[in-house]
């Protein structure tokens, strides 16, 4: 009996060990380029490790049973007439319930840190007199204390392109340029069908819906060029509906802005 328990403990610790090792050493995610990304990756790592423990544990149990309890050629008759075990069944009802509840609370915490539970408002100077009701989106990214004023951009999506309107400079661009470490606040609306704005490196996505503006805020943290991908089937050229977001140093951004602006403003 003691021997059996030692084997069980050995197998369980092996499953945990392998799962933790894989969880900490295998990176399945792209570059982290926004404030949201490291928070997301923290959640991913936890879920990945818990998932691995359950999955590997289940494989071990099934394969072991198939091997250990396989019918030998000389065997006849049935296995043991075991119809259930209330204690075991209560254990594997309660433990998963606790795990699921903890994951739920934790992911609520993650979502809150991403700013998901904040009130939806779009900090847009031009429409402050008549605030429009916006009821979907991700309002605020986590605040790193660096950015002062939001950079407001209006996004319109159509088959099969994104257009980015910079109201301050009164110009429209097909590329999204933003300064690094600056909170960006986007109001998005579609001209035809449903589209979606997705930047994998930022770990954010929001549908762009005709007739109902949505908002999406984020703070990029890493200079570079990342893809903006439409993630909602929008027609034959859906796969080609991509744009680029260019995160650059503030001076580079100012140069680009000043080159494109059509009204006299100073950044």
């Amino acid at each position: 009996m003691l021997n059996k328990n030692i084997y069980l403990i050995l197998v369980i610790s092996l499953v945990f060990g392998i799962s933790f090792w894989i969880g900490f050493n295998v990176n399945l995610l792209p570059t982290e380029a926004s404030i949201n990304a490291p928070i997301y990756d923290e959640l991913f790592k936890i879920l990945f490790i818990i998932g691995l423990i359950i999955f590997i544990g289940m494989i071990v149990a099934v394969v072991y049973s198939l091997f250990k309890f396989r019918k030998r050629n000389d065997q006849i008759g049935d296995g043991i007439a075991l119809e259930g075990n209330l204690r075991l069944e209560i254990i594997w009802t309660i433990i998963p319930s606790i795990i699921v509840l903890l994951i739920g609370l934790y992911s609520y915490n993650i979502y809150d840190r991403m700013g998901g539970m904040k009130e939806l408002n779009h900090n847009h100077e031009m429409m402050s007199s008549n605030p429009e009701k916006i009821w979907a989106g991700i309002s605020q990214t986590a605040d790193n204390g660096i950015s002062k004023n939001d950079l407001s951009i209006e996004v319109s999506a159509m088959q099969f392109a994104f257009l980015f309107n910079y109201p301050k400079g009164n110009f429209i661009s097909g590329e999204l340029h933003v300064p690094v470490d600056q909170k960006v606040s986007m109001k998005m609306e579609s001209k035809d069908v449903i589209h979606a704005f997705w930047v994998p490196e930022f770990r954010i996505k929001q549908d762009i819906i005709p007739g109902q503006p949505t908002i999406l805020n984020f703070t990029p943290t890493k200079v570079g060029k990342y893809p903006i991908i439409c993630a909602e089937l929008c027609g034959p050229y859906h796969g080609g509906m991509r744009a680029a977001i260019i995160v650059e140093e503030e001076s580079d951004y100012k140069n680009w802005f000043n080159k494109n602006k059509t009204t006299e403003v100073n950044l």
Binding site: G51, K71, G79, A81, G84, S97, V100, G235
Partner: protein
Amino acid sequence: MTISIDPQKSDKSLQPKGWLRYFSFSLDHKVIGVQYLVCGFLFYLIGGTLASAIRIELASPMSDFMPRDVYNQVLTLHGTIMIFLWIVPVVNGAFGNYLIPFYVGARDMAFPRLNAVAFWLIPPSGLMLVASYFVEGAAQAGWTAYPPLSITTPQSGQIIWIMSVLLLGGSSIFGGINFIATIIKLRRPGLKLMQLPMYCWAMLGTSLLVVLSTPVLAGTLILLSFDIIANTGFFNPVLGGNVVVYQHLFWFYSHPAVYIMVLPAFGLVSEILPVHARKPLFGYTTMVFSIMGIVVLGLVVWAHHMFTSGTPPWMRLFFTIATAFIAVPTGIKFFNWVATLWGGKISINSAMLFSCGFIINFVFGGITGVALAQVPFDIHVHDTYFVVAHFHYIVYGGTVFIIFSSIYHWFPKVTGKMLNEKLGILHFIITFIGFNLCFAPQHWLGLNGMPRRVAEYDPQFQFVNQISSLGALLMAISTIPFLINIFLSMTNGKISGDNPWDALTPEWLTSSPPPVENWKGEAPLVEEPYGYGKKLSEQN
């Protein structure tokens, strides 16, 4: 109250005999079950061909194999055919019709004529759906048919798609009503509800979901068709309609539809494992309660398909918790199945291997499902290949594996012949490797930036996509040993005898193949369908 189970002197004697009855408006539940299965399998081959076309297109990053709009038609037809013409009719209609009357000790379903109508709605609506390609092109808005895309794409294809799904939904509702009536009212005298084989409980739960949620889909699609042909504005934003309302209504059916596809599989695997492990089903009562728990929870989780759509933050939170909790009753079932294997005398045969493959694949799909239920997690991977991989692990790795397992298990009952085990194990190995090779890499693709439903993609994903396509090729090849096995065994198979597996569930207590009206005399009263081990001690 007594329920008559006398052989009815019905017009069944006038029905054609031999193979011709499979092409007739037969009222025999066993004939209808086989009709469902064969018809479903033919559509599976069509849907599989479309899947192969998708994987060929995705073997290269450019859209070069077929025109872009045809690609969207292919993916729409693939999804619709696999769901509405293969999985739902087969796990519900085929196995339900064949097995439920045996399990409750009846001579047929409660409404045999309605049953035949339910089946005969399927071939014409399926053919109509496929034929819509040749009119002006099939529907191309995905199987979800989200407006406004479904309103703005060519009308004929979309309208035929709606008509076809409405008829298939009708067929599904007829079947659901029939199963509920049969299980509740046609039980043999003396047979208690808690003595029924688990598949009856699974079908009772599934049929409740069908009857409660399918009418919502029907209503939604009728409103959508008004928007398309009569220029109404229910969902058309140009006319003041709301596109998000459509998504709520659609997913109110289509999330329970997932359980309509997997709950019967849960029931089937509960029948197969005890027979081949020679052990009673572990935890019968908790299994029943977890099925009903899944039914109740399954009705209140639909908005998790809309986390990145127009959903306010509080709603996102509620649906996260509700969805994640489905893992609890589902988890109970998986632990119970493993406990059923534990300490058994397991025959390693094709049916057992496919069932164990199901456990492993489904646990993986369940784990990614719990992850996807978390709003912050979903916001990154929603509408990407991660989701595609997740639901194929559920419906292919889960349900289709169980369909194959069930075919290996019940083929001797239906035909009186054994299937070839060597070909069966070969079929399992190729399917298992091909399936995992095809879908496991897609998780990585989704996490790293490949959206779903695209014909072209970033060239950095080419290698992983080619691995996935190779897996799809193996899956296509895996049907060859299966089909050879079926044809060889039908013509030259070993005679199985009435009960080759020594099983205790009622369908094995009659001849193989069973006679019309199921039993020569009175239906046997099976109080312990899983009494393995006990039988032995009694004999001793």
